[in-house]
Amino acid sequence: MGSTHHDPPADRPPGGEPRRDLLTRLAALTCGGLATLPPVLAGVWTFLDPLRRKGAAAAFHPVAELEAVPDDGLPRRFPVVSDRTDAWTGFASDPIGAVYLRREKGSETVQALSATCPHAGCFVEVDPQEKCFRCPCHNSRFAIDGGIVPPSPSPRAMDELECRIGPGGEIEVQWQNFYTGIAEKKARS
């Protein structure tokens, strides 16, 4: 190739009017651009549709009877069940997540911890022998009350969820998802 590719095209017709040529180019680019715009815009418009969608608002869901959580300080796992919508499908009473509930000896107060690891979102499990929580993905370790046990890859303690005893005596938990990987406990909306 060398420098020949800098030469003017050999097959260029001589004597073209530069002004007219420029106008033609501009017109060609404009028409081509305008023709391509509708599919591109429609595509981008639809592709970004997920940004308009919001998750379900945080709400209290009945999770278990108080008696189902023995007052031995050990966490028990329960699914959180709620009506939910997935794009076009409506599910009635479908599991949307899981919580650990625990109660100290003689206490009526229940502690609720989200089973989602605050590090990277894996499912935290209970290690019954060492009486602690352990995440199977990156070995984050948490105390039985959800507190962080160093050294742990998780930047914060397990996420505690608001919890109350409902009118029928059942435990209600306010289910929420939180951003993972950051020290601050920040709810996803």
Binding site: M1, H5, H6, D7, P8, P9, D11, R12, P13, D21, T24, R25, A27, A28, L29, T30, C31, G32, L34, A35, T36, P38, P39, V40, L41, A42, G43, W45, T46, F47, L48, D49, R52, T85, A87, W88, T89, G90, F91, A92
Partner: protein, 678 residues
């Protein structure tokens, strides 16, 4: 985009361009691509290939985004397309462009082919490229065919079934071929996943490779310039590109126009614009148990559909000839065009053949349309005598001949009119099916917008449990043989009611219906008991004699009974409670209604007349449809009404409990309505 200029470039961009060029040689490529010589100057007749590339690029862009929201599965395909069309931002426009551009592409293909044939651009050395073009055409048609099924609506489902059944006619491998395409012995999940893979993977992938070769070969041979030249040579960029770009813009304008014209018309008429209903249509979800008389392929395949009718009466061999042999021969002739076209006469033949083909396809399309829409312009009233004669003679040819006095002239005239009448009837069935399909589709979209959304079992499941959709069908099939269901104030209602042989059930349970029942002028008429065994029964004589202006029954009393009955049916909203209570007392009264009718605990023995407890309510309706001979209803005095929900041992009742509930809900008008319409 500036022309390469000699000398060193300055500035960061220039250096970067030099850097890239040294490593990729892109300038030479761009140069090669843009500075193609166009002998005789740029011309409009050369734009078709470029518009096709543009159309394909549009399909790739819109298709990829559609892909990102589409779910290929029998319970999710319709649902995801619904979601794209009606709920995603700009989804209607995206899908509309994809749908209309697909049709534009077929038109552009025809124009491109026509131009190539007329200009003899298939001649040496361009034969191979012509063949590539034919293969590309088949790929595009394949994508059109596979794309039609993907929304999994009634239209696509039934039309595509015909196409895959035709594939089964291919000798020897047909049945296996069909099973492979369909993804099993029946239509289902794998039909969709396969069609989707074909539509978005195999076919476009092959097309891109073939298109690259097609364009490379086109460049290698240069443009097949049309003689004589009237202008000096020009370059592809920018002269021809401008014409190409204008043509592409025109194509896009037409596509957008087709999508937006209904919106414009709505705006001009002052109607609200229904964005979700613009662009591509979405029919009711595919239902193998629901016949669809309006199944037609997309318009550009309509000529093939109509062509098959030419071979009607030939049996399977006719379909084989029409769907495989003839199209195969046509394709063979087209493949031979470059060879045949070497001679002047052959070239003439090719042009004539192509025009003949397009004219034939156009004619067949027009015929198909004419058949489908004949009822719109046929004066069926003028053909009433044909229907009458066919009725009288049961269609027996000898009897018809005898009725026409065995006069050959009259017989020929009758045969011609009979054909016209037949055509109008078929066309009406098609038009009715289109209307039903539109109504079903609208209803499906309405139901999808419920707060509960679509169940996991899919929209079809929901539609099958919808009283508004199923009620009229069940009624038409099982009830309408005797009962009318027509608003008495509607035009033409009287004739319909007069023809029926049991009560008009429109508005059954409402105050209006009960008022008519207690109207001496109506109770013995065809809208109530007039055409039944109860015509001279106790109820009719009671209403006509005792209720007609007499001291014990004042108009107020009748109104109170009407209110009480409507309240029993659950239509008591807005009625004066005191009036209802007084009416209930009158109904229960052993000297009035209660002398025959049981009403709550009035102690009248069951069986002599229908129990009016909860009259017209859902449970009451379900009960009487299930078994009108039950002592709670007509007992031994039941006229002809079948037991729809019970049967003698070993037999199946005509309707399931679910169907009975659906028809009851439909009669009562209780079904989901969107908030805005309530």
């Amino acid at each position: 985009m500036s022309t390469p200029t000699p000398g060193p470039r300055r500035g960061l961009l220039g250096s970067l361009a030099d850097f890239l060029d040294d490593r990729t040689g892109y300038r030479a490529l761009v140069h090669e691509a843009l500075y193609e010589r166009v002998p005789g100057g740029a011309r409009w007749r050369y734009v078709w290939g470029s518009t096709l590339v543009f159309a394909f690029m549009t399909q790739v862009i819109t298709g990829l985004v559609l892909w990102s929201s589409y779910s290929a599965g029998a319970q999710t395909a319709w649902e995801s397309v619904y979601f794209i069309q009606h709920e995603m931002a700009g989804g209607w426009l995206l899908r509309g462009i994809h749908h209309v551009m697909a049709q534009a592409m077929v038109v552009l293909l025809a124009l491109h082919l026509l131009q190539v044939v007329i200009d003899g651009a298939y001649r040496a050395p361009r034969e191979v490229n012509f063949w590539m073009g034919l293969v590309l055409m088949m790929l595009v048609l394949g994508m059109a065919l596979t794309g039609y099924l993907l929304p999994w609506d009634q239209k696509g489902y039934w039309a595509t079934r015909v196409a895959t059944n035709l594939a089964g006619l291919v000798p020897a491998i047909g049945p296996s071929l069909q099973q492979v395409i369909v993804g099993g012995p029946d239509y289902g999940h794998h039909t969709l996943t396969r069609f989707f893979a074909l539509h978005a993977g195999f076919l476009p992938g092959t097309l891109i490779v073939m298109l690259a070769i097609h364009i490379a070969l086109f460049r290698k041979h240069g443009l097949c310039a049309k003689q004589p030249f009237t202008k000096p040579d020009a370059l592809f960029w920018p002269d021809q590109v401008l014409k190409d770009a204008v043509a592409c813009l025109a194509v896009m304008a037409v596509v957008l126009g087709v999508i937006l014209v209904p919106a414009l018309r709505a705006a001009l008429d002052g109607r609200p614009i229904e964005w979700g209903h613009l662009g591509a249509e979405l029919g009711a979800p595919a239902d193998p148990s629901e016949p669809y008389a309006a199944a037609r392929p997309e318009w550009y395949f309509l000529f093939l559909f109509q062509f098959l009718k030419v071979f009607e009466g030939w049996g399977a061999s006719g379909e084989f000839i029409g769907a495989i042999v003839v199209p195969g021969l046509v394709m063979a002739v087209m493949f031979l065009m470059p060879i045949v076209g070497r001679w002047r006469l052959g070239h003439g033949f090719n042009i004539a053949f192509t025009f003949g083909l397009l004219a034939g396809a156009g004619l067949l399309t027009a015929l198909a349309w004419r058949e489908d829409y004949a009822a719109r312009w046929t004066d069926t009233a003028a053909l009433a005598d044909v229907q009458d004669l066919l009725h009288e003679t049961d269609g027996d040819e000898e009897k018809i001949a005898a009725a026409l006095g065995n006069d050959p002239v009259k017989q020929a005239a009758f045969a011609a009119r009979r054909k016209q009448w037949d055509g109008a009837r078929h066309s009406q069935a098609f038009l009715d099916a289109v209307d039903t399909a539109h109504a079903d589709a609208r209803r499906a979209v309405e139901l999808a917008g419920r707060p509960e959304r679509i169940p996991a079992a899919g929209m079809l499941d929901l539609l099958r449990s919808d009283a508004a959709t199923q009620g009229p069908r069940i009624f038409a099939q099982h009830c309408a043989g005797c009962h009318a269901h027509v608003d008495p104030s509607a035009p033409g209602a009287e004739a319909v009611i007069a023809k029926s042989s049991a009560a008009n059930l429109h508005g059954f349970g409402t105050a209006a219906w009960a008022r008519g029942l207690l109207d001496p002028a109506l109770v013995g008429g065809p809208a109530y008991f007039g055409n039944t065994a109860h015509k001279e029964g106790d109820m009719v004589s009671f209403v006509q004699n005792d209720l007609a202006g007499n001291d014990s029954w004042k108009p107020d009393d009748v109104a109170a009974v009407v209110a009480a009955l409507a309240a029993e049916a659950g239509f008591g909203d807005g009625l004066d409670e005191a009036v209802v209570a007084r009416g209930r007392g009158l109904v229960a009264d052993g000297d009035r209604c209660g002398s025959c009718h049981t009403f709550h605990d009035n102690g009248t023995a069951a069986g002599s007349a229908p129990d009016l407890t909860g009259w017209g309510a859902r449970d009451w309706l379900v009960g009487i449809i299930t078994d009108p001979t039950h002592e709670r209803f007509y007992d031994g005095s039941n006229d002809r009404m079948p037991r729809f929900g019970t049967a003698d041992e070993g037999a199946q009742p005509p309707l399931s409990a679910k169907q009975i509930a659906l028809v009851a809900d439909w009669l009562r008008g209780t079904w989901y309505r969107p908030a805005a319409a309530q």
